[in-house]
C-alpha cells in the first residue's frame, strides 16, 4: 500500500489569502518563526504542521523579478501517486466548482481564495 506524504491542512484558503495580502502590504508583520506563523494563522491552518516541516521561508518579491517557484520533486511525485491510486482523488477546492456555477458572488472574495490557494500549496 502506497504511503502518501502528509500535507498541510489548510482550513480556509480564502482567509489564508487575506493574511498573505496583509503580509504583502505591511498590515501584518511577516512571521520569523514557525511559532509566530502559528500565532498569525490561528483557525486558518491546522497546527501542528506535518512533522517534516522544520523551517519557514517567505519569499517577498517585486513585480520586476520574474519569480518561478520550483516545487519539490518528491511532492510532485506524491501527487502523481495519488492520482494513480483509485482510492485517492486529485482534490480541487470546491470554490472552483462554485465559481463555475456562478455562485461565487464576490470577485474580491474569489481573488482572496486564489491568492491563498496558490501561495501555500507548493503547486502540488
Amino acid at each position: 500500500m502506497t504511503e502518501f506524504i502528509e500535507r498541510i491542512n489548510i482550513l480556509d484558503r480564502q482567509a489564508f489569502g487575506r493574511r498573505v495580502m496583509e503580509w504583502s502590504d505591511g498590515r501584518m508583520p511577516i512571521p520569523q518563526t514557525l511559532d509566530e506563523a502559528a500565532q498569525q494563522l490561528e483557525g486558518i491552518i491546522a497546527f501542528p504542521l506535518p512533522s517534516y516541516i522544520t523551517k519557514l521561508n517567505f519569499i517577498k518579491t517585486t513585480k520586476e523579478v520574474w519569480t518561478i517557484k520550483i516545487p519539490p520533486a518528491d511532492m510532485l511525485q506524491d501527487t502523481r501517486n495519488r492520482i494513480a491510486d483509485p482510492n485517492q482523488e486529485y482534490h480541487l477546492d470546491p470554490n472552483y466548482a462554485k465559481r463555475v456555477r456562478g455562485d461565487f458572488p464576490d470577485d474580491l472574495a474569489f481573488f482572496e481564495f486564489r491568492v491563498g490557494d496558490y501561495t501555500c500549496s507548493l503547486c502540488t
Binding site: 480556509d12 500565532q39 483557525g43 486558518i44 462554485k98 456555477r101 455562485d103 458572488p105
Partner: protein, 592 residues
Amino acid sequence: MHCPFSGPQLTEPKARAQDRGDALAHRLGHHLGRSNAFGPAADDELFDGYPTDRKVVRLGEEPDTADEAPEAAAPDESVGTLDRLFRRMTLGSRQDYEDQHCGYKAEDNPNLPAGYTYFAQLVAHDLVAHVAPIAHSDQQEVRAARNFRTQRLFLETIYGAGPLVTPAPFAAPPDSWSYVRKRLRLGRVGKAETGPDKAKWGERPLEPGFPARDIPRASCPFVEEVARPGLTDTLLADSRNDDSLILSQMTALFHEFHNIVLDATAGPLTTRSSNLEHYEHFIRTRKIVAYVFRRIVVQDLLKRLLDTGVYSGLETALSDLSRGRHHHPLFSVSPDEQRIPVEFSHAVYRFAHRLVRPNYVVNGIQRRPGTIYQLLERSSARSPSLLPLGTDWLVDWKHFFEIDPAVKPNLGRRINPQFGGGAMAGDTTLVVGDTRTGHGVMHRDLMRSVGCGMRTVDSLIARLPPSDKARSDLLGFPKIRKRAIKEWLLATPFHGFERGEAEAIAENPPLYFFTLFEAAMDKCGERLGILGSTIVAGVMLSALRVMQPVVEGDPEVAAAADSVFAGAVPGTLPELIAFIAGDRARRGEPPF
C-alpha cells in the same frame, strides 16, 4: 467622550443624547436593553466605549470631515480600539499554545458534539425573531425594533403561527373533506453529486424512491422574477432554518418527528372527522413535540452549556415553577417579561458562533470532510442550483452526536476568544458580514455587543450572588480579572494595540469578548462561565415560563407523551434521533 467605533449617533455626548430623548442607547434600551436579566440599568452601568484623544475612523469608512481623517496614518492606525481587539481575537498566541490555564491543547470541545452548535441555533431562532440590524444604529427601523417571538420555546420557528396563518410548511390535506393542514412537509432529495450514479453537471434530478429527508423547498414558475436554476425558496415557517446544511437537516428532523407523533396520536380520526377535530389533533401533536423539545433544551443542551452550579439553580427554579412558584434568587427575570435582553441576544448567546468548525464529516459517503463553506452554500438563499439536496449530502447524525460508540462525532470548538481568521471571522459573502470592513460575522458580533445599550461586565458581575462570585477568581477579584485580560491581550507580539488600549479593554471589556474569555479561563472552553451561564439561564427560564401552563403544566400532555414514547420520553438529542431511526426502520426506510 468620543466613541471611536460607532456611527455618528453613538458619538454624541450622552447628555445631549438624553436631551434628544432618542439616542440609540436609550432608544434601544427602551425596546430591548433595559429588559435585561438584572433589572434596570443606570447610565454609568451601560457600556460607553473607550476614551481616546485620537481622531479615528473605522477601516473602510470614509471620514465625515477632513478633521476626522487620520494624520498620515499607517494602515494599522486607521482602525479603532475594537477593531484592534477583533484582530487580536483572530490571532493565536504563545500563551494559548503553552497551555497555561486549563490544560488543554486541542481546539475540539469534548463536551459539545458538533450537532449542539446547530441545535443551539434552532433554539435561538425560537427565542428571537426581529428584523432590525442593531449594528446599523442610525437606521430608522431600529426605532421599531422588537421581538416578534411571543410563544417562545414553543417551536414557533417550526410551526409559525400555525397552519391557518402560516400554511407554507404544512402539507395540503389529501382530500377535500378537511381543509386543516396538520402534517409538516418534507422535501424530496436529488441524485448524488458524486459517485457512479451522480447527476450530470448542472442538473439536479430527484432520486426516485428515496425517502423525503430534506426541508420542503420549491421554485415557483408562476411568479414574475427571472427564473434561476434549482430551488430558490423554502417552505418553512422561519427561513433562517435554512442557514446551513446541518441546521436545515435538523429542521427536517423536527418536521419528521412531528409527523411521527401526528400518526401516533391520530386515534379514531378519519378523513371524515370534523375540521375542529383535526385542528385539535394538530394542537395535541404540537404540544407533545414542544414538550420533548423543551426537555431536550433543558436536560441536554443547557446541561452541557451551563456552569453546573447555575444549571442546578435552573433546575430548582423549574421545579419551583411546576409548583406554581415563580421566583428563584439566582434569576431576577420578571415572570411576565416578554422581551429578550440585549445582553443575551447581542452578546452572550453569540458565543455559539465560536463553536463552528471549519469542516465536518457529514456522512460516510463523502470522501473528505465538508467545509463550512460547502455546508453554508447548500441553502436555497445562497446556491439554489445545488438543490434538491443530493443523497450524498444528507446528514448522518451519528457524526454529530454521541449515538454510535464506534463513531467519534465531529466536536464543536472550545469557547474562547482566540477564534482565528477563518470563515466566521473574515468571510463577507456566505455569512452576513460587513463588506465595508472586510470582516465576517464575528466582527459584527463584537461591534453589536457594544452599540445598543449594553450593560458593562462590571455592573453585571456586581449583581451576581456572592456565592457565585466566590466560585471564580475572575469574577470575585477585579484585579485578577483585569490582569488576566490584559495578559491575554498582550500575549502575542502582533496584537497591534496602542499605548493604554489593552488596559482600557481590561478595565471595561465588551460583554461578547468577556463571555468567551470567561468560558476559556474558568471552564477550559467546554461550557459557559458563571456570568454567561446566569444570563442564558435567566433568559431560558423566562422563555420557558411563557408556555409552561399549556405544556408541562397540562397533565394531559405528559400523559400523551408517555403513551407515544412508551414511558421513555426523549430527553436528549441522541434519544430523539434513536426514536426517529426506530420509526424509520419500522417503515422500512434506511435509518440515516
